[in-house]
């Protein structure tokens, strides 16, 4: 084999044959550090003191009881959207429609409240099912289009986000509107339609639901036959088919799992945080899910960790918004900077860079 090297001036690039696990991890961590560094610089330029940044993002978010409670509250739905993206991406189904499925999960839960389905004690469970069914229903359309008619799912899932958001608007300005409310939302959920609080800030049992979902998804992807099928389908669909693996069914099942996880996230926010269906229920979750899945390389265990850090970023960012009057977009910007840095680090994973003298 000829050694594949490329020289650019004094820099020589060499294609790596393989990479040690620790070196790979080190490169990714270094790139995140670079991203955080750039973000800090950005905040400093926006007029925030370095020591204040440290306080807002580290001390008041992770080492303060109220702050940590906020982080944990935010953590639960982020775990679910991260898992949702990871599961779909594992079979090369690019689900950009997490936000729409999330909205439909919230709708599924809300429907139980609006139509007062079943006896009161069972409604919180029906809402759970409603969330899952809502999310699955919303991803079923692009899944069908992709698997039957080869319609690109990136476009169909993306566009269905807007359809979902507009549908919610339509309902909130119409049939489902709470006449007593000051802004557009449904009536408040009754006490028995809410997820029970655990007695620390606003944290509710949804956190345990999310962590249990992460454990189940981990078991499925890493230990089950279906998870093994997903690996082959994601790695080489042609080979998977020739090996006798039911490729279409595997993709369909993974995609439905993805939709149900997003829908579950919508249920958590509607029944655990907002206690109503509002137009803000899903904002930002879809793309956060994609970012989390990307940063954790579609690994469910890593999703749990990354989404925790992402929740911290949200909570810290919120207080910066409140106290310094900086725009909400700043959090998205920091997310993007970190993602771009990690994407860029891929270069150092693929190539060995050497200085020549």
């Amino acid at each position: 084999m000829p050694s594949r090297t490329l020289a650019i001036g004094r820099i020589s690039l060499e294609v790596r044959q393989g990479i040690e696990f620790w070196l790979h991890g080190l490169i990714v961590l270094a790139s995140i550090a670079v991203g955080l560094g750039i973000s800090v610089l950005l905040l400093v330029v926006s007029g925030i003191d370095v020591s204040n940044i440290f306080e807002e993002f580290i001390v008041f978010t992770f080492f303060d009881s109220a702050g940590l409670a906020d982080v944990l509250l935010e953590w639960a739905p982020l775990i679910l959207v991260g898992l949702s993206a990871a599961v779909a991406f594992r079979v090369q189904f690019w689900n950009i429609g997490i936000e729409g499925q999330f909205v439909w999960g919230a709708i599924g839960a809300t429907v139980v409240m609006i139509y007062d389905i079943g006896p009161s004690w069972i409604q919180i469970y029906l809402m759970f099912l409603g969330g899952i069914i809502g999310g699955m229903a919303w991803i079923a359309v692009p899944a069908f289009l992709r698997l039957r008619l080869q319609v690109n799912e990136i476009i169909s899932t993306l566009l269905l986000n807007y359809v979902a958001a507009l549908f919610v608007l339509n309902q909130l300005f119409g049939a489902w509107q709470d006449p007593a409310a000051v802004y557009y939302k449904t009536a408040q959920f009754a006490a028995y339609q809410r997820l029970p609080l655990i007695g620390w800030g606003q944290i509710h049992v949804g956190l345990f639901i999310a962590l249990a979902a992460a454990l189940i998804v981990w078991l499925v992807t890493e230990r089950s036959r279906f998870g093994a099928y997903m690996k082959f389908v994601g790695s080489n669909p042609g080979m998977a088919l020739a090996s006798g693996i039911p490729v279409t069914l595997t993709i369909l099942a993974a995609v439905m799992l993805s939709g149900s996880l997003s829908g579950l996230g919508g249920y958590l926010v509607a029944s655990g945080q907002e206690y109503a269906l509002t137009i803000y229920v899903a904002i930002g979750y879809g793309f956060s899910g994609i970012v989390i899945a990307f940063l954790s390389r579609n690994n469910p265990a890593a999703v749990v960790v990354v989404s925790f850090l992402m929740a911290g970023l949200y909570v810290g960012g919120e207080s910066i918004q409140v106290f310094y009057g900086l725009p909400e977009a700043l959090i998205g910007l920091i997310q993007s900077i970190i993602v771009i840095c990690v994407v860029g680090s891929e270069f150092f994973v693929r190539y060995r860079v050497r200085w020549m003298r």
Binding site: M1, Q17, G18, R223, S224, R225, F226, G227, A228, Y229, K231, F232, S235, N236, G238, M239, A240, L241, A242, S243, G244, I245, P246
Partner: protein
């Protein structure tokens, strides 16, 4: 007088495998020179040496009697050597003029495009091409793309034009037109070297023909003084057939009737093919690449649906079955393109070994997979098939070709295969790995499997097969019992091609 081009004693090896073994070649100005040989005979390697893509291990090369050491493609281009490769080197979304300019850099973009466009217009007038320099590559046909390649090379000042299998992508009409064009080019003094395995083209359009086999030059003859059977004989040679025991064939296991299948681009490449393979028999399907072998193998694997026809296994119809069901009935595949159908490159040896039998619950229960069971079974397979230097956790990407192929065999030959479809099972392997693959296939045959060996390597087919079938243009054109007459097989392979 010195030859226009002379190449002497050219040697080139890859990983210890001789691609060129003291090959000779000489050509003159103003002739169309056919370079003929089977797949792997060394035609393309020799021309890649000439145009600077490969650096030979040994050998001399001279143009008009002046010796040159070609340092690289740009050096070759400066000497007036230009090659049109079988797979075009064009940038899809760019225009024709931009592509030509990429190969022939100009000092300024805007002026360069104008100059190049003018040159293209002039040349295409002379050659009778109709080419619009502003058209985008992805909007023009394959035949037109080829014309662009030729113009690109000629604009670079090539006096020595090499065309690698130029007609393989063309319809008959387009091919005839191209061959007339290159004859016209030769009349203007260009030396055109036509790499091909189509006898008819060479006989009709070349002035002289050089035949290669196994990396060596067999002979150079005048096209007017030779015949198709002579050329076929030179191409296939007289290698001795080995004398291993033939198989004891039993009842019919695989029966293919009137099979027709299309390639992805809609062209029917398998056209009414029928054959039967018995238990304990190796049926060798010989043929020049591109005559429907790939699509046949895909149809048998179950990844391509046939247009018409029936595939029977032990009497039952499996034509419409999912690969999973076929495997359950004992159909196994050794695909030609390992990276497409054989192995998942990014996954481990253990995972790849387990892939085909996960569905039966062989590695754990129906719901769960036991990593430990996979590890243990894969480890045993590594030992049985002598796959050295790899563990069950090694990524398949890092395996050598021989080890990767042995891994495929270890997986596919497990249990009691009923039918094994082996497509080019030794392509790119070294001698030892080749022998191991052959031994495994013979052992499977002796255990009662029906083996369909699809190969472009004639020696392999003749050595291994109990029955030799020849595929040409998607159908069986002849079947010969062992020992099959090499020359007859060669004629059938190359006939009316």
């Amino acid at each position: 007088m010195a030859h226009a081009l002379q190449m002497t004693d050219i040697v080139k090896s890859f990983d210890g495998r001789m691609a060129l073994d003291r090959a000779e070649f000489a050509a003159e100005w103003g002739e169309v020179h056919g370079l003929l040989g089977e797949n792997g005979a060394g035609k393309t390697s020799l021309m890649n040496v000439l145009c600077g893509l490969y650096r030979p291990d040994a050998g001399r090369m001279s143009i008009d009697g002046v010796e040159h050491r070609i340092e690289g493609p740009s050096h070759a281009r400066a000497l007036g050597i230009g090659m049109v490769h079988q797979h075009f080197k064009l940038v899809q979304p760019f225009t024709i003029a931009e592509n030509v300019m990429l190969a022939n850099p100009q000092t300024s973009w805007r002026k360069g495009i104008a100059t190049v466009s003018e040159g293209i217009a002039r040349l295409s007038d002379e050659l009778g091409f109709e080419i619009d320099p502003a058209a985008r590559i992805d909007r023009i046909s394959v035949a037109e793309q080829q014309r662009v390649e030729i113009i690109k090379v000629l604009m670079g000042g090539a006096r020595l034009l090499i065309l690698d299998e130029p007609t393989s992508v063309l319809t008959d009409e387009e091919a005839a037109r191209l061959l007339r064009t290159i004859q016209a080019l030769a009349r203007r003094g260009t030396c055109v070297i036509l790499i091909t395995h189509k006898l008819r083209e060479v006989l009709a359009h070349a002035d002289r023909v050089t035949v290669m086999r196994g990396g060596r030059t067999v002979a150079t003859v005048d096209a007017s003084s030779t015949s198709a059977p002579d050329l076929a004989r030179m191409m296939v040679g007289d290698a001795p057939v080995d004398d291993t025991e033939p198989g004891q064939s039993g009842p019919v296991r695989l029966q293919i009737s009137d099979l027709t299948a299309r390639r992805d681009d809609g062209v029917s490449t398998v056209r009414g093919l029928s054959l039967t393979v018995c238990s304990g028999q190796i049926y060798g399907l010989a043929g020049v690449g591109g005559n429907g072998q790939t699509e046949l193998a895909e149809v048998l694997m179950g990844v391509r649906a046939p247009e018409v026809g029936r595939i029977g296994l032990d009497g039952s119809d499996i034509t419409a079955l999912h690969p999973k069901r076929r495997r359950a009935l004992g159909v196994r595949n050794v695909p030609a393109d390992r990276s497409a159908y054989g192995l998942a490159q990014e996954l481990s040896v253990g995972d790849n070994y387990a892939s085909t039998r996960l569905g039966s619950g062989a590695f754990g229960t129906m719901a769960w997979v036991s990593r430990r069971t996979i590890g243990a079974r894969a480890n045993a397979a590594l030992e049985d098939f002598e796959i050295q230097g790899a563990t069950v956790d090694t990524s398949v990407r890092l395996l050598s070709g021989g080890n990767a192929q042995k891994l495929v065999l270890a997986r596919e030959l497990h249990g009691e295969p009923a039918v094994i479809v082996a497509h080019s099972p030794t392509h790119g392997l070294d001698v030892r790995a080749c022998a191991a693959v052959h031994d495994h296939l013979r052992a499977a045959r002796d255990a009662g499997a029906a083996v369909l060996l699809i190969s472009e390597d004639l020696d392999e087919v003749l050595n291994l097969s109990d029955v030799v079938g020849v595929i040409n243009r998607g159908a069986i054109v002849g079947e010969l019992a062992r020992p099959a007459d090499r020359h007859r097989v060669g004629e059938l392979m190359l006939g009316h091609a």
